[in-house]
């Protein structure tokens, strides 16, 4: 009996699984997403002279709102219209959800090799590569919906993702270039002193990456692919009930994963803290620090919804190709210069 419990515990804290499912994987992502959506609604409400979700739990300021929304979605009828491609319609959002969380298996949350999910030297490239997978399935979902608005949304998603993933990757690589390593552990360790965060040494790349997170993860009002007043939720027009919840969830989880990477690359990861031996001191605490940093970045993104309006698709693409790609390339150059001068040597 104890053998089984031991086995289960071992399985749970087996780094790849632990990271994918618990921290900073699916479960943490859900908690953060629930917090962030609540925060987003409350922030917007605060700027907009009102209160926001409240009555569901007056003492917590309406924090349970998202739980209610999720539960309601979970038990609502799931409508699968007759005109859709059924298999893709159902399969694509689920695949997108799984793939959106997959990149975390390549992100080490500590510098103790025992707790690496997958020990490797190219974790930056692998994790960034994995982030590019899920958008394909959103386009597939849009196509399967057989709806004009969804089709337009899918096309926009494809355009935006192509443009901004490029920026994301260029600026991510420039972080690695400065340190002359594509191993996230090396990048984080190089940023150990506060003033050496790449955010400060290479703000250009950080800005480009921030912008690409903003645009490619479709946060309101930068959700050009699902612009509500233009194309009615775009790719997700036909989705209802839990399926829509999955779609919404995967969009936010994707943003969470992106911001995790952002905080690892630019905000020094677990920086002020040095992991100590032991599961809690060596793994949990640094991981929580990274998650908290990512949450803060997400919160700033949420704040921007109160200030900005939506861009037009051609303007967004124009901004990508004409402004942000040059900025990202400039960041790459700067990183090259830093590497040459040996800032992180």
């Amino acid at each position: 009996m104890t053998g089984i419990i031991d086995f289960i515990i071992k399985l749970i804290i087996w780094p790849p699984l632990f990271q994918l499912v618990l921290l900073p994987g699916l479960v943490t992502a859900l908690v953060v997403v629930i917090f962030i959506i609540w925060f987003e609604r409350k922030t917007a409400a605060r700027v907009q002279m009102r209160i926001g979700p409240y009555h569901i739990s007056p003492r917590l300021g309406g924090f349970l709102q998202l739980i209610a929304d999720l539960t309601r979605y979970a038990f609502q009828e799931i409508i699968v219209p007759r005109t859709v491609d059924r298999a893709v319609f159902i399969g694509a959002p689920l695949t997108a959800l799984v793939l959106s969380v997959v990149p975390v298996v390549a992100m080490p949350m500590t510098d103790i090799p025992r707790y690496f999910p997958i020990p490797m030297d190219y974790s930056l490239i692998i994790s960034m590569g994995l982030t590019t997978l899920s958008p394909i399935f959103i386009v597939a979902a849009a196509w399967a919906s057989n709806n004009k608005f969804a089709l337009i949304g899918g096309m926009r998603e494809a355009f935006v993702i192509t443009a901004y993933e490029l920026i994301f990757i260029i600026s991510g690589l420039s972080a690695g270039l400065a340190v002359l390593s594509y191993n996230i552990v090396d990048i984080v360790e190089a940023q150990a002193p506060f003033y050496k965060w790449i955010l400060f040494t290479n703000p250009i790349a950080a800005l480009a990456m921030y912008a690409s997170i903003l645009m490619s993860t479709s946060g309101f009002p930068f959700e050009i692919p699902e612009a509500e007043n233009e194309i009615v939720a775009g790719a997700f027009t036909e989705y209802s009930g839990l399926m829509y919840g999955v779609n919404m969830g995967s969009a936010y989880i994707k943003r969470f994963v992106y911001t995790l990477l952002f905080s690892l690359l630019f905000l020094g990861g677990w920086a002020p803290y040095t992991p100590q031996p032991g599961f809690i001191a060596g793994y949990l605490i640094p991981a929580v620090i990274v998650v908290v940093k990512a949450t803060i970045v997400m919160a700033t993104i949420s704040f921007l919804r109160a200030v900005y309006g939506r861009l037009r698709i051609d303007q967004a693409l124009d901004g990508a190709w004409r402004i942000f790609i040059p900025i990202a390339l400039a960041g790459l150059l700067l990183a090259l210069l830093e590497a040459y001068m040996g800032v992180y040597a």
């Binding site: 922030t43 605060r46 700027v47 907009q48 002279m49 009102r50 209160i51 409240y54 704040f303 921007l304 109160a306 200030v307 900005y308």
Partner: protein
Amino acid sequence: MPGKVVEKKTPKQTLLTAITGNVGAILVGLKYFVNPNRFTLKYPYEFIELDETYRGFIILELKKCIGCMSCARICPAAAMKMVKIQVEGKKRPMPVPVINYNRCIFCGYCVDVCPTEALAHLPVHDVVYTNMEDMVLDVDGFQKLVDTPAKDEGVPVKYVFDPERGLVKVPATRG
């Protein structure tokens, strides 16, 4: 002296305005984030005490009614109808107004046209029903005081004007 035409121009966009515009927008957002100008009415816990002049639900004072039918004739929505009932002190049945809130548009014509002020507005306007038949009142129902359901749950407040914050909520005492 009448008004005059003034020509104006929209501002030009330059790189400078692009930068200052972004910064300004974010700063205004932050200003409201730090110092929010919330004036939300927490509705069931608070409710607005409406003015006496507010055109809300209507009440009939049967004693004053002289059965002139002006109210029913002026009602634009045909919500107010006359019924003939036997009233104390009159020999023949007298026409008396009754109201159908399914139709009433709260224009207040009936109250304004009533030569004896037998009809009056109540400062109440947040009553809802789950059954449409409950909204068709007879003479007895028309004389009953409709009261706001929020009274049991919340406290009355009033909004006053303020040059800094627009409207400001202040507590009010009912009565």
